[in-house]
């Protein structure tokens, strides 16, 4: 446990001290937030009854998931860099739990996400976002978004360790991210999509998780817009999160052993 904490701390420090990383993980999500809300927001009808700024209430829960997915590429990138510089050799020659290299990496994403999410909620609040179902439900939504981000970091760990170089990790990481993030309910309701896309968008995990977070923040009378009721959404979200970790954590460990052996 101490080993995991030590590695997590080391990776979080990298976020704070590498200006590009800090910028990428904070300014970029805020830019997305501003762009989508003010450029597209006026043209998008979501049906949430919350006054003239309704789109922000649709957008905020979704954009947390989007930044979690984009941010998870830091795991793919970080692991490939560490493989290249010999840092992982050093770790492996120490009497530490070997799993700590991977858990410390993914947990660092979790720590960063808690900060980035909080920042976005503050900016969102200034833009008119409100949580309509009380603090605790909002906090639960926040937690679901964090857990989903954590599970997604394991996907990125597996990808990074499979491709091994930072350049490849960068592009390979975004391959699954783009369809999952944009063909989802993150930015717009799925009802406006063509049938074939809608079928995919409605069952895939990003939509389920985004809608879960949304169901915990928008006014209760608007819950019908989400297709599934809150309880079902929460259950499905947890099922996805557990399933993703169950598949990708062991896969990452296997790739890790192959990459270093």
């Amino acid at each position: 446990m101490i080993h995991t904490a030590v590695i997590t701390r080391r990776n979080v420090l990298r976020f704070i001290r590498i200006p590009q990383l800090l910028l990428f993980s904070t300014v970029q999500p805020v830019m997305f937030l501003l762009l989508f809300n003010y450029v597209f927001g006026g043209a998008i009808t979501t049906g949430i009854p919350a006054g003239p700024d309704e789109y922000i209430n649709w957008l905020i829960p979704g954009i947390l998931i989007q930044s979690a997915a984009f941010g998870a590429t830091a795991t793919a990138l970080g692991l490939t860099e560490d493989l290249g510089t010999g840092v992982i050799d050093r770790f492996r020659s120490l009497p530490m739990a070997r799993s700590a290299v991977l858990t410390g990496r993914t947990l660092a994403d979790l720590v960063r996400n808690s900060f980035v999410f909080s920042l976005m909620l503050v900016v969102g609040y200034l833009m008119g976002w409100r949580f309509e179902q009380g603090f605790w439900k909002m906090a639960l939504g926040f937690g679901v978004a964090l857990l989903f981000g954590y599970s997604f970091s394991w996907v990125m760990a597996a990808i990074g360790l499979a491709v091994k170089t930072p350049e490849a990790a960068q592009s390979a990481g975004f391959l699954p991210i783009f369809p999952l993030v944009f063909a989802s309910s993150i930015f717009v309701p799925t009802s406006s999509m063509p049938d074939w896309l809608q079928t995919f968008a409605e069952v895939q995990p990003v939509t389920i998780v985004a809608n879960t977070v949304r169901s915990l923040m928008i006014p209760e009378e608007a819950l019908g817009l989400l297709g599934l009721d809150q309880g079902t959404l929460i259950l499905q979200s947890f099922a996805w999160i557990v399933a993703i970790i169950a598949v990708f954590a062991p896969l990452s460990v296997r790739q890790y052993k192959k990459a270093v052996g």
């Binding site: 050093r90 120490l94 052996g261």
Partner: protein
């Protein structure tokens, strides 16, 4: 107790026989120098002995702990500074060392005092709170060394500790390593430089193509080589005459290599003077003349009949890229 005891270690990567049955052993408190060219198997052997690689066959123990049955036990007793400084650019020197200390399971206070101690010892105390990205290559190597010592390892492995750094830093690192050794640290270091092995190691093993081809103290190895040589370069027209001069001094035909001729110099500078006199009386003006130490090339020429070639990829690049 032997610090390292390895029997018949074999490690192949596909068709590459990185280690082809290497046995070495040495006792605690000495510095063992593993000398060989790129691709000879030095790094692979270090990676096996520090549990980063599992050998295909063979057995070994480090600090009395069996490598195969108790790799975790071995990791508690060894320190490793690899061929590239494995330090984190974005942490300070102190943070780097303390991180490794914590990973050695030292508690907070131990880690702090130990970090102060090693940073002081390698003369980085003043810059300890600066981020490593401001450090020079030599400072990074020193820091890497500090990190490898923080857990008080019983056996320390240094893989080419001075490769790729400038001559001044190399001398500083040598001083540092010598100080460590005075403190009783058991050390296995690899190097491509005979001079380095000569200065630092109590015993030297020469490795080539995954096999240990010679072993002994520096003096024993030099005896095999005949020590210093006088080497001259002359114009092609003077060559035949120069060979005669050198043969007169040495009592044997000089070795020809590229454009140079060389003879053993058992009497050091007196042999040099004799050569100069002979050349002078034959009215030969050499383009270059020098008394020099035997190089790794000479060792290999003598021991194997071939030069120390760079025919293979450096072992780190190979093992790191292996998927």
């Amino acid at each position: 107790m032997n610090a390292v005891e390895a029997q018949n270690i074999v490690k192949h990567f596909g068709d590459t026989h990185a280690l082809d049955g290497v046995s070495i052993q040495f006792e605690e408190g000495i510095v063992y120098g593993l000398l060989g060219p790129n691709g000879a198997g030095k790094t692979t052997l270090i990676r096996v002995l520090t549990t980063l690689l599992t050998p295909d066959s063979g057995s070994a123990s480090v600090a009395g702990v069996d490598l195969i049955t108790d790799p975790v036990g071995v990791r508690r007793k060894v320190g490793l500074a690899g061929q590239f400084a494995a330090v984190d650019e974005h942490q300070t020197g102190r943070e780097n060392v303390e991180m490794v200390g914590r990973l050695y399971n030292l508690n907070r206070e131990e880690t702090r005092s130990r970090a102060d101690e090693v940073l002081d010892r390698i003369n980085l105390a003043e810059v300890a709170d600066l981020q490593v990205k401001t450090y020079s290559g030599g400072m990074r190597r020193k820091l890497d060394l500090a990190a490898s010592m923080v857990g008080r390892p019983e056996v320390l492995f240094l893989d080419e500790p001075t490769t790729g750094i400038d001559p001044a830093s190399r001398l500083a690192l040598w001083d540092l390593i010598e100080e460590m050794v005075d403190g009783g640290t058991t050390l296995l270091l690899t190097t491509q430089y005979l001079e380095e092995a000569d200065r630092l190691a109590d015993r030297i093993g020469v490795i080539d193509h995954g096999k240990l081809i010679a072993e002994g103290t520096s003096d024993e190895l030099k005896a095999t080589l005949g020590g210093d040589v006088v080497e001259i370069h002359v114009h092609n027209d003077d060559r035949a005459l120069a060979v005669e001069c050198l043969t007169r001094v040495a009592g044997e035909e000089p070795k020809a290599e590229g454009g140079s001729l060389s003879i053993p110099a058992p009497n050091g500078s007196r042999t040099l003077t004799a050569v100069v006199r002979e050349l002078d009386s034959a009215a030969i003006e050499p383009r270059d003349i020098a008394l020099r130490k035997p190089t790794l090339n000479d060792v290999f020429l003598t021991l194997t009949g071939h030069k120390a070639e760079d025919e293979r990829q450096p072992d780190t690049a190979r093992s790191r890229r292996r998927g």
